[in-house]
Every structure is written in C-alpha cells, then in structure tokens.
C-alpha cells in the first residue's frame, strides 16, 4: 500500500451570462420622500451577495450614501422583468441595468435640486453623503432628503429611473453555424495537489491554488467568500456527490445531500486564491462576476491530479474510490506521471 501525490491544472474562460434571446435584465429605481432610494429587481440573491453589489452600484451611480439605498428583490410577479440569477450574470447584467436606471433617477434628482437652488442642473454635484451642491460652491447646497420632499410635495416630480440591459441576439451564420452568445469572459487557472491511496482508492485534496480574473471586483470580501465556497463545491462535485450506488435498485439510492456524501468541515483543503482585476469595458464599473466558475476548474484539475498521481484517467464524475481501483486494476497497477515541482509557492 502506498499513497501517491499528484498535481493537476485546469484553466477556464468563462462566459458571463448567456445571450440566448438577448438575456435582458431590468431595474427600476425611485426615491421616497425621505430621500432614500428603492431599487426594484426581479433577480434574487441566493447568498452570493447580489443585493449588496446592486446596492453599491446604485449608490455610486446615484451619488448617495449606501445606507440610503434599499434593494427590493421581493417578487418576480410584480417587479421589473429579469431572466434570473443564473449563468453568473447577476453583477454584469443587473449591474448594467441598475446603472442606466440610476443615471436617469440622478438626472431628475439634480433637476429638482436645481429648481430649489435656482441654478442650472448641469452645475450641480453630489457629495455621496446626502448633499447636492453647486460645483465649487459647497455652501450653495441642499440635502437629497429636502430635494426628494420638494419633488414630491411641491414640484410634483417623480425622482425615478428605468434601466434595461439587453445585448441584441446574435444571429447564427447559416453556413457555419457560428454565433457569438457571449459578451464578457472571466478567466481562471487552478492547480490542485492530491494524494491517492492505491489500496483504498481514496483521494485527498492536499491544497489548491488559483488565480481568477473577474474584471473589477466590486466587493472584494464577497468575491473571496464566493471563490472559497465555490471551490468546496467543486471538490464535492469532483469527488463526492452522486446518487449512486443504486443497490439494490434506484429507488433505494440517495436523492439529495442529506443522503449522499459531501465533504464535511474536516475534508477541506487549504486554498489560496489570487484575484486579478482587468475591468471589463462593458461591465458595471468594469465588473464581470465570479459565479459558477468558482467551482468549474476544480473538477478537471482534480481529475488531472489523480491521473498524474496514479495514471488513472477517470472521465465520469465523481471520481470515486471504486473507479480509481478499477482503473488501477485495468492498468496493472500505479503508473504515476512526471512529478511537477514541489508545493506551489504561496506569496
């Protein structure tokens, strides 16, 4: 019996969103008489942080404090239309829609403030702390709250904005079938180091190291959080989760993660992520978003690492001990690949 270490790599070019039918998102923003803003969306936050990112994008564009923005994703029946939270599209698609809506709302806000201050709206700026003032003359100012109240009760204006982000559907070339369903690509590369036990077929992930390029990172802590959690999911898909075995028949198989295996808190490996930012020209403030690609490269990297460790190429997930042992038998034993260096040098 012996344990064999191996290293595998994988890289991913990940398309953000999917442009089937244009992949539109809408956002509506309005102010309340207390000078706070509500952003209505139909995309939901599953815990990935979309609400927070939406709030940041809206506050930044409106020029108001983040505390004064509320993001409402309550009801897709009554909210503006959205394709949904999938395909890692949240930050990019909804963020862009929010920027359009917030720009329009900001325009009305400044017009209302201009009317109160008796100046030209083009001369007004916001300080991001709840005030609007004449450029270069901070004393000639009015609060966002007073402006919202004047608009509501005196001027009869709605401080509101509508936003949609739509990429026109890409036509399919009749000759070649070629089309371009993508707008923004995010990129990553991941190295997995594993140890394979040739007697039990068990795979232990020793460490993982990755670099992710996600455009401008709008909320660094949430990006890190998603990347770490998603990598765990990748390990889970690669090595654990399956409704098999079907013994004695499929009805007895596990149906969900209460019944099948997932890595627990004792099975996690040290993971080092480096995030690179190359702002996307069409992203909200340059953002693309991590999403599904947090997990994607983990699977092929682990499969490659297993191959490197013992020479068994498993091409069906998950990579279970049973498959490894069958592979070892078919190969007539362990056939390790070339060793590639020592531990990855963490900064």
């Amino acid at each position: 019996m012996a344990r064999h270490e191996g290293r595998g790599m994988a890289s991913v070019n990940y398309p953000i969103g999917m442009n089937l039918g244009g992949d539109p998102s809408q956002a509506l923003i309005h102010s309340n008489p207390d000078g706070k803003f509500t952003v209505a969306l139909s995309a939901i936050d599953l815990g990935q942080g979309m609400k927070q990112v939406s709030r940041q994008i809206a506050a930044e564009t409106l020029g108001v404090p983040i505390e004064d923005v509320y993001v409402d994703t309550a009801d897709s029946d009554t909210g503006p239309h959205d394709m949904g939270s999938f395909a890692s599209r949240g930050t990019h698609r909804m963020g862009n829609a929010i920027i359009v809506a917030a720009r329009e709302a900001r325009g009305v806000l400044l017009e209302a403030a201009a009317e109160e201050l008796e100046v030209n709206a083009a001369d007004l700026v916001t300080d991001g702390r709840g005030n609007i003032h004449v450029r270069g003359a901070p004393s000639r100012s009015i609060t966002v709250k007073a402006t919202a109240q004047a608009a509501q009760f005196k001027q009869g204006k709605t401080i509101a904005g509508r936003g949609i982000f739509l990429i026109p559907l890409s036509a399919v070339d009749a000759e070649t079938g070629e089309m371009n369903p993508n707008t923004a690509f995010a990129h990553a590369c991941l190295v997995a180091d594993v140890c394979v036990d040739d007697e039990t077929g068990e795979v232990e992930v020793l460490r993982m190291t990755s670099a992710y390029e996600l455009g401008r990172v709008i909320n660094p802590r949430m990006v890190e959080q998603q990347l770490v959690g998603g990598a765990w999911m990748g390990i889970s898909h690669a090595l654990y989760e399956t409704p098999e075995p079907y013994y004695p028949n499929p009805e007895h198989g596990p149906r969900d993660f209460n019944e099948y295996l997932m890595p627990g808190p004792g099975d996690i490996a040290p993971y080092h992520v480096t995030v690179l930012e190359r702002p996307a020209p069409d992203g909200p403030f340059g953002g693309k978003g991590p999403g599904e690609m947090c997990a994607n490269p983990v699977l092929p990297a682990i499969a490659n690492a297993v191959y490197n460790a013992v020479g068994v190429r498993v091409d069906e997930l998950p990579i279970t001990p049973e498959k490894i042992l069958r592979g070892l038998k078919a190969n007539g034993g362990v056939k390790p690949g070339p060793r590639r260096g020592g531990p990855v040098n963490w900064r």
């Binding site: 815990g47 998603q226 765990w232 627990g264």
Partner: protein, 160 residues
C-alpha cells in the same frame, strides 16, 4: 389525540403550550411558539439546522420529542443577542463572512455556542468536530471555522 400541556424555559422566559404527544420540539418552537430561529432543513437528523440547546447540550430539535422537554431550558439563536448587542459568535460570523445564504447559520451558531461554553479555547480540530453534524452548502466551512476560532479569543465569548 388529546393534546398535552408542556412548560419549559425558552431563552430565559417561561413558556407554556399544548402539544400533540408526537410533535417534535422543532415544530413546537416554530409553529407553536413562533420562534423561527431554528430552521427546518431535512426533518430527519442529517443537516443540523434545527440544532438548539437543551439544558446546554446541543440537540437536533427535529428529532426531539417536545414532551421530553418538560421543565427544561431551551436556547435558540433568537436569544443570543443581548438587546442590540450581538453575541460575540454572531459578530465573528459577520466579520468572517461565515454566512452566504445563511440557512445553516442558526445550527452553526448553536453548535459553536455549545462548544465554547464547554471548551473556551478549542483547537481547529475541536471546532471541526463540533460542527461536523451541520451541513453548509455555500461557504466551504473555512469562514465558519475561522469565525468560531476568532470568537473563542474575543472578550465575552463564553457568555451563554
């Protein structure tokens, strides 16, 4: 079937209710007493989100017969904060981004609370062991482990 009277202390207050003899503690807390701190995940003892403290011991409320709690002290996450002041574990969970969807959070907090009450300076392995009955689908566990270790070193962490 006739309902049975049941009394216990919930987060420091005396509570009385009537329960079906077969009802579990989770149902009694959530539907009977309106304490939505403990969550319903699997209802079969595998996910840990329903974890509550019964006389200080972590217990799966979905597998606990309500009537077995007569006269006991039940504690849930609803009673963790002291007015506006969060429990150090709650603060640490926020600081370490230890929740994404947050569904596992009540169970994780309760498991951690039970651990720190008994073992104020746990090792990483002891933390892992303490939360090994709780499934988290989002975080990859690392931020949760980091939060519990940090809370152990924070002042007031042992407050029950």
């Amino acid at each position: 079937m006739a309902k049975l009277p049941l009394q216990f202390r919930l987060n420091g207050s005396d509570r009385a209710t009537f329960v079906d003899p077969a009802s579990n503690l989770l149902d009694t807390l959530r539907r009977g007493l309106g304490d939505f701190g403990p969550k319903y995940g699997c209802g079969q003892g595998t996910c840990g989100v329903c974890t509550v403290l019964v006389d200080g011991e972590p217990q799966l409320a979905c597998l606990t017969l309500a009537v077995s709690c007569e006269g006991r002290q039940i504690e849930t996450t609803s009673g963790m904060a002291d007015g506006p002041n969060l429990h150090p574990l709650q603060d640490a969970f926020m600081d370490h981004f230890a929740a994404q969807c947050g569904f596992c959070t009540p169970g994780m907090l309760t498991a951690a609370r039970a651990l720190l009450a008994k073992n104020p300076q746990p090792s990483r392995e002891e933390v892992v062991e303490a939360i090994s009955g709780n499934i988290c689908r989002c975080t990859g566990y690392e931020p949760i482990i980091a939060a519990i270790l940090a809370a152990a070193n924070a002042p007031g962490a042992r407050r029950a």
